[in-house]
């Protein structure tokens, strides 16, 4: 064993513990918010109580204010979203858009200021307006949208974790009901090899049906019905049936009849052939359904057989004739038996 032991704890992903870069620590956020409030307040106070500074200074002041409010937040959010390609792209676009808008406002203001000598007032308002709009855009794009995004992501992760936990519980229940119970029974009946083999086969079949197959209790097609028939024979006679199916067809009345005939052929093989393994093959090719039951057991002479054996073959043959199909038996003493059932069926699936 190479230490490969899948643990359920590993199967369940813990979103909280998975490193996603920087965490937004509450202390920093409060500090940041206080700083922002202070700066904005100072700025408002200055706008009210001091004379208007020259345009370049005003622009620098406004840009700094917006930068101080949005910048650190944007940096933290960007690190937090480092792994999210789509969110990162949107964030970069918003940042670029805001910067371009603010820059354009400043340029327009500068042009206006250069155009008219006394237009400093008009230029000032244009610049201020542009920077404020850019700030608003950044606020929505960098603060509100990422917050919404992170919130939905957390919710989705919680839901996924819950679904995984439920799946895990279902797997655990199933393993308990089937495999663990069987293992317990096998321990108790270790002295009885036939019973052990039967239990193991039963558990294997059940697990296989659960892992790979559709609902095995109510087979909807020929292949499923044959699997059930093979299982019954395995359980009753302690032989193993090697089932191979190629194609399948819906389980109508006639297909049911073929399954019943195949079940009888399997029973015969299990009872009389004296071997541990029987092959069961079914193929639906075009319009023909073929089922073959074969063993390598003691076989018999079909021409000179006892009343008992003859009757059994007759019951399979009679059934196939009533269905409108055929039954061929290849057998010889010492070289096993093969029963071939053929039936013309309608359409195939």
């Amino acid at each position: 064993m190479t230490g490969h032991r899948p643990s359920y704890h590993r199967l369940v992903d813990h979103p909280a513990s998975s490193a996603t870069g920087a965490r937004l620590r509450p202390g920093w956020i409060v500090l940041l918010a206080c700083l922002d409030v202070l700066v904005v307040a100072a700025f408002l106070w200055a706008a009210e109580h001091t004379s208007q500074p020259p345009l370049p200074l005003l622009v620098v002041l406004l840009a700094t204010t917006v930068g101080v409010v949005v910048g650190p937040w944007a940096w933290l959010v960007a690190r937090r979203l480092a792994g999210e390609a789509t969110a990162g792209r949107i964030l970069r676009r918003v940042l670029a858009g805001g910067t371009v808008l603010a820059g354009a406002g400043v340029v327009v203001a500068a042009l206006i200021a250069a155009g008219e000598r006394n237009g400093a007032d008009g230029a000032g308002s244009v610049a201020m307006f542009a920077i404020l709009v850019a700030g608003l855009l950044l606020l929505v794009g960098v603060v509100v949208l990422p917050w919404l995004f992170l919130l939905t992501r957390t919710l989705a992760r919680e839901r996924a974790a819950r679904v995984r936990a439920e799946e895990r519980a279902e797997v655990a229940t199933h393993l308990h009901d089937s495999v663990l119970q069987t293992l317990t029974l096998i321990q108790k009946r270790a002295g009885d090899p036939a019973a052990m083999a039967r239990l193991a086969r039963h558990a294997e079949r059940e697990l296989r049906g659960w892992l790979y197959g559709p609902d095995a209790d109510a087979p909807a097609d020929l292949a499923g019905a044959l699997r059930v028939a093979a299982a019954e024979v395995e359980d009753r006679f302690g032989v193993s049936v090697e089932l191979v199916t190629v194609g399948s067809c819906p389980l109508d009345e006639r297909a049911r009849g073929v399954v019943a005939a195949a079940g009888e052929a399997l029973t015969n093989a299990a009872k009389h052939a004296g071997v541990a393994k029987v092959s069961l093959y079914a193929e639906v090719a075009g319009a023909e359904l073929l089922v073959a039951v074969r063993d390598r057991g003691r076989g018999f002479d079909p021409a000179a057989t006892g009343r008992d054996r003859h009757g059994l073959a007759e019951s399979i043959m009679g059934r196939m004739q009533r269905l409108g199909g055929t039954c061929t038996i290849h057998a010889a003493p010492g070289s096993g038996t093969e029963v071939e059932l053929r039936l013309q069926v309608g359409r195939t699936t």
Binding site: M1, T2, H4, R208, L211, Y212, G213, S240, E242, V244, T245, V246, G247, S279, Y281, E283, A285, A292, R294, E338
Partner: protein, 212 residues
């Protein structure tokens, strides 16, 4: 004649020791591994004749071992075995270069025969593999083939059908009134078709199943 040197790749140590116990007198088990990396390293170092390869392995799958080993040591022959009922998995390793497939419930003597056959360069089709292959070429399987290029001949289909019914190669030959060697030729031809079309479509198939 020296015994066939076999390497066993399976992630269950219990199964590996079971295989060793069943085949050991007839063939020589030179090494074993439980995951993809150890298998590739071990096979390259020991250069066995035949590798018994589990389809499902931790750290990848049987296909990864096939790709890595056959790229550097094309002479190593692979016999796949698994408990899987998924035709896609099984056909996948066959197309990846394995020369046969058996179920894990196989008896010791049958496994030895399969190893010998694969070592001789032939294909070994268990009934289940024959069924999967017929399904694949019929078009019901999850691994569609190009029907123009990869169609089976009628004879190949007949041979596969009998193998799926539980006939040995020898019994198949008797039933079809051909020689056992001809049966082997047909089976090898089927294997070649699978592997040729496998190389062509492996990438497409892997992409569809999110294996890339």
């Amino acid at each position: 004649m020296s015994r066939v040197r076999v390497f066993v790749v399976d992630d269950h140590s219990l199964f590996r020791s079971g295989v060793r116990a069943e085949v050991e007198p007839a063939v020589e088990v030179v090494g074993e591994a439980g995951d993809v990396a150890a298998a590739v390293a071990g096979i390259r170092a020991l250069q066995p004749d035949v590798v018994l390869l589990d389809v499902h392995l931790p750290g990848g799958g049987g296909g990864d071992v096939l790709n890595a080993v056959l790229a550097t040591h094309p002479g190593v022959r692979f016999l796949a075995l698994s408990v899987s009922d998924d035709p896609g998995d099984v056909i996948g390793v066959i197309r990846g270069g394995a020369r046969g497939y058996v179920v894990k419930a196989i008896s010791g003597p049958e496994l030895c025969e399969a190893i010998t056959r694969v070592h001789a360069g032939d294909a070994y089709f268990s009934p289940r593999l024959a069924g999967f292959v017929l399904d694949t070429f019929t078009g019901d399987a999850p691994v569609p083939l190009d029907p123009e290029l990869d169609a089976l001949t009628r004879r190949e289909r007949e041979v596969l059908r009998l193998i799926a019914r539980g006939y040995t190669y020898k019994e198949t030959a008797e039933r079809l009134h051909i020689s056992a060697r001809t049966v082997e030729t047909h089976v090898s031809a089927v294997l070649r078709k699978l592997q040729l079309s496998g190389r062509r479509e492996l990438s497409r198939w892997a992409a569809a199943r999110n294996l890339t």
